[in-house]
């Protein structure tokens, strides 16, 4: 899993049916000290994270697991908000 900071929201009306109704965020990957580490990416969200929050992001196929659907076309999902 990766650490990231939510920096924005994203809208995509035309999308694969497997991600219907799921919220998308823009996440900036960060290091443990909060500094930026690489390019921002798009991520789904299961926890209702907001802009500015530090989050835990599951990557790869596992990113689709929280949704309980047979397939979910995502390689990144916010699965936790870091305290």
């Amino acid at each position: 899993m990766k650490l990231g900071r939510v920096i924005g929201c994203l809208w995509a009306t035309r999308h694969d049916a497997s991600v219907d109704g799921l919220r998308m965020l823009v996440v900036q990957p960060v290091r443990a000290d909060g500094t930026d580490a690489g390019r921002p990416f798009a991520s789904l969200d299961t926890v209702g994270a907001g802009v500015g929050e530090t989050v835990l992001v599951a990557t790869s196929t596992e990113a689709g697991f929280p949704f309980g659907r047979p397939v979910v076309a995502t390689d990144a999902t916010v699965v936790g908000i870091v305290d």
């Binding site: 920096i7 694969d16 497997s18 990113a63 076309a73 995502t74 390689d75």
Partner: protein, 99 residues
């Protein structure tokens, strides 16, 4: 998912039979404001994207997580066409705790 712009299409007559009928797009990775980077990826198209459109690409084994690509030898898929991105003003300096 990475942010990209569709810049072209790939044709391949001889290919794995399970890929017949799929469209393969050449996607150039971009920054959030749409500026091109030097990275390209070829991705199966699950949404009907066209040249010039801003898209999201799911990579790795997640590329197989669409109805179109499930169980097929695909490791990148265009799974959304981006309408709008709202991003906060340039990142503030991260808050650091005093030592």
């Amino acid at each position: 998912m990475l942010f990209g712009t569709v810049v072209g299409q790939v044709w391949a007559t001889r290919k794995d039979p399970s890929l017949v009928g799929m469209t393969f797009l050449v996607v150039r990775e971009t920054t959030l404001d749409g500026a091109p980077t030097s990275t390209f990826v070829v991705a199966a198209d699950a949404v009907g994207a066209g040249v010039g459109e801003a898209v999201l690409v799911a990579q790795g084994s997640s590329g197989r997580q669409t109805e179109l690509t499930q169980g097929k030898p695909v490791d990148a898929v265009v799974m959304a066409i981006v309408d709008r991105v709202d991003v906060e003003a340039p990142a503030e300096a991260p808050v650091r705790r005093a030592a």
